[in-house]
């Protein structure tokens, strides 16, 4: 089930326009018109992207019939970043050990000179 959620989130994020929309919504809610402005795209084209994002649960839309402002829903994004973060933490803990080994190797090299 979690894999399906991740799939929907990844598919929604696989498009540069939709990622740009998400980036804009991080700053606060916006109407379709406001979202369409920076892109060379019609409002219906933007609306299509918004539907994909809405289906993936990444955004929600206000009730106000005229404006229907879009806002970011953080939960699915957090799920993806948490999933990736666990992996990153594991690899990073490995690399932090490598950091201290490299410090040791650097000191050894300084002591013995590079060209032995």
């Amino acid at each position: 089930m979690q894999a399906d959620r991740l799939d929907a989130t990844f598919n929604a994020l696989a498009d540069p326009t939709r990622r740009a929309i998400i980036a804009r919504l991080v700053k606060g809610e916006a109407s379709v018109m406001e979202l369409a402005e920076p892109f060379d795209m019609s409002q219906p084209a933007i609306s299509k992207h918004l539907k994909v994002l809405e289906r993936a649960g990444l955004i929600s839309r206000g009730r106000d019939a005229q404006r229907r402002p879009c806002r970011l829903e953080a939960a699915p994004l957090r799920e993806v970043t948490d999933w990736l973060q666990r992996y990153a933490d594991l690899v990073e803990s490995r690399f932090q050990r490598l950091d201290s080994l490299l410090e040791e190797l650097k000191h050894k090299e300084k002591r013995h000179g590079r060209n032995k």
Partner: protein, 177 residues
């Protein structure tokens, strides 16, 4: 593309089947290369869980040569990785296959590149899986093996690494292979 970072490591997913790891190491390239390819060095950093050891670390660094890493967890369970070197350009590029031994039918192809700038080494590894499912499983393995480690614990481990470990028995174990 989703991405996240942990400390200095940046992990991104450039496509459905790939994982890209990027990090900067504060050391010249020849040392990073050495630390990543000599068994006596790899033993010091590969087994990263608290209380885990590395009973097997074999590296036959030549095209067509094999490697095998086995980590033994504190609870006695073991998991291994193995693969074959496809391309070696010391000290800047290694292409190798990687099989996580519990899933022998899902090999991935890893391309490691090291670039040196101003005495620092810019590391990247691109991991290419054959399917999205295998890629996702790879990322999720961080969750399975890391499940017992809370984030504050990772920090504690990092702190303990700042001080030298007394009597690392790496040499003793090498002779057991």
């Amino acid at each position: 593309m989703a991405g996240t970072s942990s400390g200095k490591l940046v992990v991104t997913l450039p496509s459905d089947k790939e994982i890209l790891l990027s990090r900067v190491f504060d050391a010249p390239r020849h040392l990073v290369y050495e630390a990543m390819t000599k068994p006596e060095h790899v033993r010091r950093w590969w087994a990263c869980m608290d209380g885990s050891t590395m009973p097997v670390c074999e590296i036959d660094l030549r095209v067509g040569g094999k490697y095998r890493y086995v980590t033994r967890m504190a609870d006695g369970s073991e998991f291994g990785f193995n693969g074959v070197y496809r391309e070696i350009v010391a000290p800047q590029r290694i292409v190798h296959t990687e099989i996580f031994e519990p899933y022998p039918d899902s090999p991935s192809l890893c391309t490691l590149t090291l670039e040196e700038r101003d005495g620092k080494t810019y590391y990247q590894t691109l991991v290419q899986h054959e399917t999205k499912e295998a890629r996702d499983m790879h990322v999720s393995s961080g969750m399975e093996t890391g499940a017992g480690i809370a984030l504050d614990r990772v920090e504690a481990i990092a702190r303990s690494l700042a001080t030298p470990r007394p009597g690392e028995p790496a040499a003793a174990r090498a002779s057991e292979i």
